[in-house]
């Protein structure tokens, strides 16, 4: 009888017991800080101890007067657009090559391309910090091709800061994108290609009229995660340029949040920057959603 009641109790209580450790930590360390960040964004703070309520002034200053924030948004947006525009064709191209008929050692190639993704952004920054140095491997390589010694100031000139970041992050991410595209390509029904073949379609026709429409969901997914990741860029430029870079050309939104919050000690202002990032990502998602739903409607 007693055992019976225990049995009923444990089956009734089970879901609550299972979900509660997760839920408690989620509320204390995720929801609460989220609410605090929102509240802090209406304060001017000096370290974690002193806060003065200032209403909307953080946001007004960010949007109206803060030149550095404008620079950070411009840099981040430029990086994101350039990254997505280059990474997706590269990853897709690699995936198509690797998916061609008769490729030997496919897994080995796939691993060679993918392996750079295992290296974290910080370590990529440390490695490319040396590769891009004045006598680094990249300059040596270019000098060899040109036949005379050339020193490109990759990391110290304002104009080259963004291209350096892009090259390093493309090395990191292209193989990762390729794995996704390869999976999508392998899921395309081979009969569609045979049908196209019978209709007399050439290689490019097949790519544009069979492959692309069939991997469209994956394409949109890659654009979305590329965009979200791009706007959150921080570690790679921060390590590669050891801070905000020459003339702040490597300053991203998150770098600015970090500097204001944990260098200058104004947690309130940093919160406001964080919520601006939320707003930007929300606008991006809505824009994509409208674009996507129009596509479905058509």
């Amino acid at each position: 009888m007693n055992r019976d009641r225990w049995w009923k109790f444990q089956s009734r209580a089970a879901p609550y017991l299972f979900v509660s450790p997760f839920l408690v930590i989620f509320c204390v360390f995720l929801l609460y800080p989220l609410a605090r960040s929102l509240n802090l964004s209406f304060h001017k703070t000096f370290g974690p101890r002193h806060a003065v309520y200032t209403g909307w002034s953080n946001y007004r200053f960010l949007l109206g007067h803060d030149v550095l924030f404008g620079l950070a948004v411009m840099n981040t947006a430029f990086y994101t657009v350039a990254f997505v525009a280059i990474e997706i064709p590269l990853s897709l191209g690699l995936a198509v090559l690797l998916n061609s008929r008769g490729v030997r050692l496919r897994n080995l190639f796939r691993f060679s391309f993918f392996s750079s993704y295992l290296v974290g952004q910080v370590f990529v920054g440390v490695i490319f910090f040396q590769l891009f140095s004045p006598d680094g491997l990249v300059n040596q390589f270019i000098s060899t091709i040109l036949g005379h010694r050339i020193v490109i100031p990759w990391l110290s000139s304002p104009a080259m800061a963004m291209p350096s970041i892009l090259i390093a992050s493309l090395w990191l991410a292209t193989g990762y994108g390729m794995v996704y595209f390869l999976a999508a390509l392998q899921a395309v029904d081979p009969e569609l290609y045979e049908a196209a073949q019978i209709d007399g379609a050439g290689g490019w026709d097949k790519f544009f009229h069979v492959t692309l429409p069939n991997i469209r969901p994956m394409l949109l997914y890659m654009v979305l995660i590329g965009t979200i990741g791009g706007f959150q860029l921080f570690e790679l430029p921060f390590v590669l340029l050891q801070g905000a870079g020459p003339d702040g050309r490597g300053m991203t939104i998150v770098t600015y949040l970090f500097i204001m919050g944990f260098g200058a000690g104004d947690l309130g202002y940093a919160s406001a920057i964080g919520w601006m990032l939320v707003a930007i990502l929300l606008i991006v998602s809505l824009a994509r959603f409208r674009f996507f739903s129009r596509e479905i409607g058509a």
């Binding site: 450790p21 930590i25 360390f29 605090r36 295992l118 490695i127 193989g175 570690e235 050891q242």
Partner: protein, 273 residues
């Protein structure tokens, strides 16, 4: 035939370009300061000059500590996030309980938030708890992943109800059902998720950089970022490369151990999603 050879040549060139930074890194880690300046990859005519000295010099820095710290934090993170996520995901997938709907909606909403917006609020909380410079500040907030719980929920929806019912008739407690039925069914996904969690924490930089202040408590990314900026290693960077190499090798080994699960788990999830 020529087309196939051309295709393979192209692939080999591209793969070589992709792994060139790795090759350069491995070479640099074993070179003397003089050879770092004079040779591109290896000093081919003086291979006897290659040295383990860079690894030995790492002893001057608390590099061993950083390595141990990173292994500890990444392992703790992985164990917690997999345990709590699979328990919670099991409850969300296979039970009806009060509050399930609102909980799901709130969690999904937080998935849309960039995690960086939490930083100021979390920092203030850690300051009040006196957890700054303590691993508690890294382990506890990292113990739950909303992405993870939904991954487990999604996978565990596929656990047959009949199987759970039979288990109950045989006298299994609900916890045994989780351990003996639900977890084995989603095993391939656990492999992929374990690797992904370990990788994320191993490479994590921003939050530990904010929280940790004592050099002996640093993790590898924080320690290495600090070394990179030091003027003394500007030209004599073999030591930094030795440290980087040793930071990358563990995750590559782990990847090889779990790679079958990982690539299939990654791509199957992607195609379904």
């Amino acid at each position: 035939m020529t087309r196939r050879i051309g295709l393979h040549l192209l692939l080999i060139c591209l793969a070589a370009a992709a792994i060139l930074p790795f090759l350069w890194l491995i070479c640099a880690a074993f070179k003397t300061p003089a050879d770092l300046l004079n040779s591109t990859l290896l000093p081919w005519h003086h291979l006897d000059r290659l040295t383990l000295n860079n690894f030995r010099l790492l002893g001057d820095r608390p590099f061993g500590r950083w390595l141990v710290n990173s292994i500890f934090l990444a392992s703790a993170h992985t164990v917690l996030v997999v345990t709590l996520g699979s328990l919670g995901g099991f409850a969300l997938a296979k039970y009806q309980f009060a509050g399930k709907g609102p909980i799901t909606v709130i969690m999904l909403a937080t998935l849309l938030m960039p995690p960086q917006v939490l930083l100021p609020g979390s920092y203030e909380l850690m300051y009040r708890l006196h957890w700054l410079d303590s691993y508690l500040a890294i382990i506890l907030p990292g113990a739950v992943s909303v992405f993870g719980i939904f991954l487990f929920r999604q996978a565990m929806l596929g656990v047959p109800d009949e199987l759970l019912h039979c288990g109950r008739l045989d006298g299994c407690s609900e916890l045994r059902l989780w351990w003996d039925i639900a977890l084995p069914v989603v095993r391939p996904m656990i492999g992929a998720y374990t690797l992904l969690s370990f990788l994320t924490e191993w490479n994590s930089f921003l939050w530990p950089q904010i929280v940790l202040q004592t050099e002996s408590k640093y993790t590898l990314p924080i320690g290495l970022n600090g070394l990179t900026g030091l003027p003394e290693y500007q030209h004599n960077y073999g030591i930094v490369m030795a440290a980087t190499l040793m930071s990358i090798v563990p995750v590559i080994v782990l990847f090889f151990a779990l790679q079958r699960d990982f690539i299939s788990g990654l791509s199957s999830g992607a195609v379904k999603g």
